[in-house]
């Protein structure tokens, strides 16, 4: 079993739909949870992050973390064709956020297409 699991999709939705992307993980030590977005033939870029449990909202995007279930989600409201990309969840331990880097473990990514 991999440390971080993510449904690879592909996921195809009509423009304006609500999109739900999810990851599960096995390491209870993870404290920082990130979502990276990767457009075709580009490098990933950080979209959102949360610390520990809870929700975080940024415009049309909402990130949720449920540490008790080891489950994180990214919701996209009013999805747009420009949201078409691969979304990778990423996680790390407490140490990574303080004075030194620890490994950031990436999920395999979910490919999303938003159809106009």
């Amino acid at each position: 079993q991999k440390e971080v699991e993510q449904d690879p999709g592909p996921l195809s939705v009509p423009e304006g739909a609500i999109v739900s992307l999810n990851c599960t993980y096995s390491n209870s030590a993870f404290q920082y949870f990130m979502w990276y977005r990767q457009y075709s033939r580009k490098g990933p870029e950080l979209l959102m992050y949360t610390y520990s449990s809870g929700n975080k909202e940024d415009g049309r995007f909402t990130a949720q973390v449920d540490k008790s279930s080891k489950y994180i989600s990214l919701f996209i409201r009013d999805s747009q064709p420009s949201d078409s990309a691969t979304y990778l969840c990423a996680m790390s331990n407490e140490g990574a956020m303080k004075t030194s880097y620890d490994k950031v473990i990436f999920g395999p990514g979910t490919s999303l297409s938003v159809i106009p």
Binding site: G43, L88, M97, S100, V104, P108
Partner: protein, 116 residues
């Protein structure tokens, strides 16, 4: 506009040949990462450096891969001899640890390697 640069963007080579990939991290970033991305395995960490010193290269096949930072503006990843299973997109990323701030990594555009 600060960004990570990688050369070459594309490389096609024959099995057994040496491949060298180069990365210029963002000026001022003291941590550099090398990742490999494939459909099957997703994004895998190969190695990372802080202040030019290797911190972790446990993800690299030691017999054929080597990573160095000759100076703060250049990181290299070499494969010798290359094999068809090395075909992948290789990403370089850079960042800098700050207390209490998320461990954001800034990715380059990647080198797409094909080994025939």
């Amino acid at each position: 506009d600060a960004r990570v640069t990688q050369t070459p963007r594309h490389k096609v080579t024959e099995m057994g040949q040496e491949v060298t990939m180069r990365c210029q991290p963002i000026l001022g970033h003291n941590t550099v990462f090398w990742y490999r991305q494939t459909m099957m395995q997703g994004l895998e960490l190969l190695a990372y450096f802080r202040n030019r010193a290797p911190l972790d290269d446990s993800g690299m096949p030691k017999d054929r891969f080597s990573a160095e930072m000759p100076d703060a503006t250049l990181a290299t990843l070499k494969i010798q001899p290359s094999e068809p299973r090395d075909s992948a997109v290789y990403f370089c990323a850079s960042g800098t640890p700050l207390a209490g701030v998320v461990n954001e990594q800034f990715f380059g555009p990647g080198t797409r390697l094909t080994v025939l």
